[in-house]
């Protein structure tokens, strides 16, 4: 498991946030606009600081499709570039990430570059600078993204040679759970790990004996004379399979899923958790999910109280945004979460 504690400063609407005692499986719930998606985006930024396009990617998810200076500024708390974004993770993996903005009117323009690019636009460059430290090393790495002042859809990304990101992470925005499912399965089959997928799927459909990707279709063997498309087993199974594949793809790394309950019927929620708890433990994938669904949290309580699932470490947090924009993550342990669900208390 990578991280047990995470702190965030100045990212979007979050001025400050400290989360402690993270588990392998982490669930966040809270009111609308409290900062659930922002929190997951911050974790995603922390996962890949060597890639300076990540802040632009998270903006694209928010429908900010251009890379204009104003759009980039939305990453910074209070739309103020002076507020550098700082994200820190601690645990078996350690990293500190600091994202700062290069503003077009900035006094920080590199004069040596001006002489190399003495055009009328050269003083108007803008973009992002990321400084990061990994593990116990004191060395500070850098990456940078400079947007073309003449064409905001183009940018020059500078990454540091000699640093290679060792941790795989994926962020799945709300409603995108089925994306790239085939590609992920194909890679798992190449790595000869499909038996692990079958083992996890057996938790929800014991008849499944085999899974294959045939002519861009995911086919399963359920003991009949021919294989069936996985869709035949129902939409729920297909969605759970997509999440399972994402967990396997992020082996040893991090997976963030926003609004994991989106489009999921409550009747399959226990199966979803069985697969998540099993697969995350098997792959040492640390998962972070957000949800609005009290049913989903209730299903989690049902599952983690089952004997065979009790070993996976699960943390659940209610997120509360204070008036001063500190996001506070109030942690429920298993006992307290079981209690509030049994009392039918609101978890949204």
């Amino acid at each position: 498991m990578n991280f047990t504690n995470v702190s965030i400063e100045n990212f979007r609407g979050i001025r400050k946030c400290n989360i402690s005692d993270l588990g392998l499986v982490n669930v966040f719930f809270g009111k609308n606009n409290c900062g659930k998606s922002t929190l997951l985006e911050a974790l995603f930024l922390m996962s890949g600081p060597s890639n300076p396009t990540l802040p632009i990617i998270v903006n694209n998810i928010r429908q900010l499709v251009s890379s204009s200076e104003d759009d980039i500024l939305t990453d910074f708390y209070g739309l103020n570039a002076e507020n550098e974004i700082k994200i820190k993770g601690e645990g078996n993996n350690k990293r500190e990430v600091c994202v700062s903005m290069i503003k077009s009117q900035s006094n920080q323009v590199d004069l040596s570059q001006l002489t190399q690019n003495n055009t009328e636009q050269s003083g108007k460059k803008f973009g992002l600078k990321i400084a990061y430290r990994i593990g116990d090393s004191e060395k500070i790495h850098h990456s940078e993204l400079i947007v073309d002042p003449n064409d905001e859809n183009k940018a020059n990304a500078k990454t540091e040679k000699g640093y290679e990101e060792g941790m795989y992470a994926e962020y799945i925005p709300s409603g995108n759970i089925m994306l790239h499912t085939n590609e992920k399965l194909a890679q798992i089959i190449i790595e000869k790990r499909e038996a692990e997928i079958v083992e996890a799927l057996k938790l929800i459909e014991p008849k499944i004996k085999d899974i294959q990707l045939i002519d861009k279709k995911i086919m399963v063997d359920v003991g009949l004379s021919s294989r069936l498309p996985v869709n035949v087993l129902g939409d729920g199974v297909r969605k759970i399979l997509s999440i399972l594949l994402a967990i396997h793809s992020a082996k040893g790394g991090m997976l963030m899923i926003d609004e994991i309950d989106n489009g999921l019927h409550y009747s399959v929620m226990q199966n979803l958790w069985k697969v998540i708890l099993h697969a995350c433990k098997k792959n040492d994938t640390q998962i972070f999910v957000s949800t609005h669904s009290a049913d989903l949290v209730s299903a989690l309580v049902e599952v983690f109280n089952q004997e065979d699932m009790a070993e996976t470490s699960v943390s659940a947090y209610k997120l509360v945004k204070k008036e001063d924009d500190e996001l506070v993550a109030l942690r429920y342990d298993k006992e307290k979460l079981t209690y509030v669900i049994n009392q039918e208390m609101e978890v949204r």
Binding site: K318, V320, K322, E323, V328, L330, R331, Y332, E335, K336, Y339, V340, Q343, M345
Partner: protein, 197 residues
């Protein structure tokens, strides 16, 4: 928002209905408070997040429990200590009221007993005293909870719907035929809520 943590298990209990009715009676807007049903003193600790969350958003947390009695192992002082030691410094209890009057040992039902309209139903109370005497030592007597329940279910003037709702704790606390919410005995609780909500 003021959160009121009470011992009752759920909203269909006389204790919960009483709190809601009293707060309405003293003019408190239902949007200004939320009653949290703790389901017994032992479960107070499991409400840690509910306390913390409310404090973070500027709300106040009130605990309204039974003082209980030394015979049951507790009592006003012991229960007060027990509640205050439930959490560490990271949880704030803004104020506390222990039934019946935030001073003596006892329970919620002791307060209710004092609010019953005894003069209007003198026959009931005379008969009930005879009944309790008649039971002697062979049965549970006095049985305050039984007395309160019988008091309401014996009322002939109840409609069918009102009678059916008795089981959900709807004991018509705002009906002066049965209860006196302006009683002096209720003054400590009324003042507690007036100063905290």
């Amino acid at each position: 928002m003021t959160r009121i943590f009470i011992e009752a298990k759920h909203e269909k209990t006389s204790e919960s209905v009483f709190i809601h009715t009293l707060l309405k009676h003293i003019g408190k807007d239902s949007k200004s408070f939320e009653v949290i049903h703790v389901d017994g003193k032992d479960n107070l600790k499991n409400n840690k997040v509910k306390f913390q969350e409310n404090t973070l958003i500027g709300g106040r947390n009130l605990v309204v429990f039974d003082a209980d009695t030394p015979e049951s192992g507790w009592g006003y002082e012991a229960t007060k200590k027990r509640i205050l030691s439930t959490f560490s410094d990271d949880v704030k209890i803004d104020d506390m009221f222990l039934y019946p009057n935030n001073q003596n040992d006892g329970v919620f039902e002791n307060l209710l007993e004092r609010l019953m309209q005894k003069e209007k139903h003198s026959r009931f109370f005379d008969c009930f005293t005879d009944y309790e005497n008649c039971l002697g030592d062979e049965y549970v007597s006095p049985d305050l909870k039984g007395k309160l329940h019988t008091y309401m279910s014996a009322q002939k003037s109840l409609s069918n719907k009102e009678r059916k709702n008795l089981g959900s704790g709807q004991w018509l606390f705002d009906d002066e035929r049965f209860w006196n919410l302006d009683s002096e005995d209720l003054k400590p609780l009324r003042e507690f809520f007036m100063s905290n909500i």
